[in-house]
Amino acid sequence: MALHHDLLEQARHLSTREPKRPRQASLRRAISAAYYSIFHLLVSDAATLVAPVRPPALRLQVRRAFGHSDMKTVCNGFASGQVDNLRRSTRQLVKAPIEPGIASVAACFIELYDARHAADYDLALSYTRLDASQKVALAERAFDQWHNVRTEPNAAVFLTALLLQKQWERGSA
């Protein structure tokens, strides 16, 4: 099974690991795994889109080039579903309207990105199981929504922008 599916399954497991009194470590790791499941889902599809099958190491190398914060910036543009919110370099490639499924996946990425950061580093927070379960459910929905839109032309722009938008902007400066 692909890494992103395994991570989602792990997130689900950790969010329900202790039936009565969940450990904070389990809930935090569930949230973190939920984020990484959607991160690797998008990175996997993007690498498949932009890199050929051979040599096999090339796709793996491409996957390492994605930056979390750059991806969040791109998602910010797509999440509202409004073409006007996209950076110019990306906007000129997108055909309006942005599919609601793409906007929703982008919004889920942003929510999980921040949740992962807090779960890993903010020790002042105390999590309920509902916190973790909602984040896992959000990732599950993002997987379903992505499945429905991943072959759309705008999805190809979205995936490519996740990797290259920052460079496109440099080029147009």
């Binding site: 009565k20 969940p22 914060s69 969040k72 910010n76 999440a79 509202s80 579903g81 929703s104 919004a107 942003i110 929510e111 990105y113 921040d114 949740a115 950061h117 807090a118 927070l125 309920t128 199981r129 509902l130 916190d131 379960s133 909602q134 459910a137 959000l138 929905r141």
Partner: protein, 94 residues
């Protein structure tokens, strides 16, 4: 980013509260608090913290409900032009 950029302009907070106060939440949602801050990237954010009866051991229905309404609420807030990104957290009653 200056503090003025992060804190809620009165109109922004009022717009968020107006949407939240009209929302029909499930019965086990007792209330909410707003925490205006920056997110982990330094962007303006509003953390909407819901108090939910069974937050420590939620039913599958509760998980579905909060996932549904948080997504719908986020979409509505974004459509309304809210510039603080809405994040959601769920706490148990004190």
């Amino acid at each position: 980013m200056s503090e003025a950029d992060v804190g809620p302009a009165p109109a922004e907070e009022a717009r968020i509260r107006k949407i939240l106060d009209k929302w029909r939440f499930p019965r086990n949602v007792r209330g909410y608090e707003l925490d205006f801050d920056v997110d982990s990237s330094g962007d303006p954010a509003v953390y909407i913290v819901f108090t939910v009866d069974d937050a420590m051991n939620p039913s599958d229905q509760t998980v579905r409900n909060v996932t549904d309404f948080s997504q719908e609420l986020r979409n509505q807030l974004l459509r309304a032009g809210v510039r603080h990104w809405p994040y959601f957290r769920f706490q148990a009653p004190a």
